[in-house]
């Protein structure tokens, strides 16, 4: 990535962050912490990697994203609005009766949402199924999945981890948003994940661990996963799925909630949101 590309990407991330804070602040309550921790990831995916067509969200050739930590939906909605999947005005309908933007992602309501999620632990399995469907249909599309660190407590993730390796799903690239916090406290004090990257490696995945707010680093890790998938395809093998562990900060970028356990689902008024957005610069 060139310096100019990185600067442009940083501007995009700032827009996503601002729109996310604005949408939740306009409503007055929401999952701000885990939404802000994945902003850089979403910017890298939607502005550099994910094949998509906002005018045709159901395009068969697209890459898929399963946001398994569905409560971070508002960050993804901000991204999709900025990419043109739907009007930005929709963001102020978040969680209102009849909205197309519910707190947890719904594939039937929101253009650009590939999978309904929210009951934690289920998205990685669905991502495996999407990757299998692509393979059966001979498409070289990628399936991306984002899971939370608290979510990683759920055993179904580890069933899916075994399955993805068994099926050699080389075009499955997953991310763990490792912000080290879950609802009731720090992950290490609730149900610690220990050597997380090593666990995924032991389950048969390619792994990387990067600063989840360093977009050049995220980009390089995704590029490496894509290169491995291409090499595996050329060699006629499926390859290994990839897990990229992102070291992140819950509530990143908004002073009123950055690094706080309480930011998981937090009430704050619109003035606080506006101030935080102004502070983004």
């Amino acid at each position: 990535m060139t310096k100019e590309e990185l600067a442009s990407l940083e501007a995009r991330a700032k827009e996503i962050r601002a729109k996310t804070i604005d949408a939740i602040g306009f409503l007055g309550v929401g999952h701000i912490g885990g939404a802000l921790s994945i902003v850089e990831l979403l910017a890298v995916l939607y502005y550099r990697h994910l094949k998509h067509d906002p005018s045709n969200p159901a395009w068969e050739g697209r890459d898929r994203l399963v946001l398994s930590k569905g409560h971070a939906g508002p960050a993804l909605y901000a991204t999709l609005a900025l990419r043109g999947f739907f009007p930005a005005e929709w963001l102020h309908t978040l969680n209102k009766g009849g909205t197309n933007l519910p707190s947890h992602c719904d594939r039937n309501k929101t253009p650009g949402i590939d999978m309904t999620t929210g009951s934690l632990g289920q998205g990685l399995s669905a991502a495996c199924g999407l990757a299998l469907a692509n393979r059966l249909d001979g498409r070289d599309s990628f399936t991306f999945a984002v899971i939370g660190d608290g979510e990683s407590n759920e055993g179904q993730n580890w069933e899916a981890a075994l399955f993805a390796a068994q099926q050699r799903l080389g075009r499955l690239v997953a991310f763990t948003d490792y912000n080290k916090m879950q609802i009731d406290g720090k992950t290490d004090e609730i149900l610690g994940l220990g050597a997380l990257e090593e666990k995924w490696a032991a389950f048969g995945w390619e792994t990387a661990r990067v600063d989840g707010h360093d977009m050049a680093a995220i980009d390089a890790a995704v590029e490496a996963a894509k290169a491995r998938a291409a090499a595996a395809a050329a060699a006629g093998t499926g390859g290994k799925p990839t897990m990229i562990v992102l070291d992140t900060v819950k509530g990143k970028g908004a002073k009123f909630c950055e690094g706080s356990v309480g930011s998981h689902n937090m009430a704050f008024d619109y003035e606080t949101a506006k101030k935080a957005i102004a502070e983004l610069g």
């Binding site: 068969e60 898929r64 399963v66 719904d106 594939r107 039937n108 590939d114 999978m115 309904t116 929210g118 009951s119 632990g121 289920q122 998205g123 990685l124 399995s125 669905a126 991502a127 495996c128 199924g129 999407l130 990757a131 299998l132 469907a133 692509n134 059966l136 249909d137 055993g155 179904q156 069933e159 899916a160 075994l162 399955f163 068994q166 099926q167």
Partner: protein, 310 residues
């Protein structure tokens, strides 16, 4: 009609192989019970479309949801206890709530789990599944209805739960008979009492009960429910009004499944007096199928007694 010697699971596998020949989107999922379900022929015919996920039912149902989101029509099978109890939230959220197109098959219903005992004996799968909005809940009663309903499930856009008895059962219908989701079949027309039964075992017992009742001068209708959800309310109400007395018969808790579905309908319409034959708030246990039928009060004589007591 001749007794069927072919096992129901073989009919299930054959039907999927046939459907899979013309519809390449049909895929198979198993959770280390492929030998029990007998779907080896599908795997042999279409190895790239068969996935054995290991002993991981939650993941199986989640993967099925993803395959469906990618345009496939997954048929995922495991014992009914696991299909319903263990993977319920996965089926509820990732499949049904997500408006996806997953066909979940629960084998070894109720007392047919026999020697696997109480841990493996689903007396509540229908109650759980009936509570899931928008899905269809089906229990075929013989080979022809199994073929018909599996085909109908494949064509239906939406998730379906199918209860599958694995062993051979007597034929009730000729090959080529048409079956629809939401439609029951009237197997025998009577005038004094109507028996509605669900599944091969209980339809068989209900037919025997009708014979017992006939000897005592009681004329009984027998309805093969086939589709618990949607229930064929038209046929149930017609027979209820004609006979005035109604008995539900199921290899399942008397509450939550067919008994409740019919009770709701009859209470709302006042069409008939009702008795329910089914398990009375008990867990399953080990034993032969015959022992368990007797133990839980599911035999023809229990059904006939319930009808006469009305």
């Amino acid at each position: 009609m001749a007794n069927q010697t072919k096992e129901m699971r073989a009919v299930y596998a054959e039907t999927l192989v046939e459907l899979g020949a013309t519809n390449r989107n049909i895929v198979l999922l198993e959770a280390d019970l492929m030998k029990a379900t007998g779907t080896g022929p599908f795997q042999a015919a279409y190895p790239e479309r068969a996935f054995n996920v290991g002993v991981a039912e939650a993941n199986m149902v989640g993967v099925a949801a993803g395959l469906s989101a990618g345009g496939k029509i997954p048929f995922a099978a495991t014992f009914g206890c696991f299909a319903s109890r263990r993977a319920f939230d996965q089926f509820f959220v990732s499949c049904a709530y997500a408006r996806l197109n997953v066909k979940l098959v629960g084998t070894d219903p109720g007392v047919s789990a026999a020697f696997n005992g109480g841990t493996h004996m689903p007396f509540e799968d229908l109650a759980l599944m009936r509570a899931v909005p928008g899905i269809a809940v089906l229990e075929p009663s013989d080979a022809a209805s199994l073929r018909g309903l599996v085909s109908a499930a494949a064509e239906r856009r939406g998730s379906v739960y199918i209860r599958l008895h694995r062993k051979a059962v007597p034929d009730l219908y000729p090959a080529g008979e048409k079956f629809e989701i939401g439609k029951a079949k009237l197997l025998r027309e009577g005038k004094d009492v109507a028996l509605v039964a669900l599944g091969a075992l209980m339809v068989g017992e209900a037919l025997k009960a009708a014979e017992l009742l006939a000897k005592d001068g009681v004329s009984a209708s027998v309805i093969d429910a086939l589709s618990l959800k949607p229930l064929d309310a038209e046929l149930v109400l017609r027979e209820a009004r004609r006979c005035g007395k109604f008995v539900t018969v199921e290899n399942h808790q008397a509450s939550g499944g067919l008994g409740s579905a019919v009770a709701e309908l009859l209470a709302e319409t006042g069409a008939a007096r009702l008795a329910r034959v089914g398990v009375r708030d008990e867990f399953g246990e080990v034993g032969t199928q015959d022992y368990l039928m007797e133990r839980f009060g599911l035999t023809a004589s229990h059904i006939a007694a319930a009808a006469k007591a009305l």
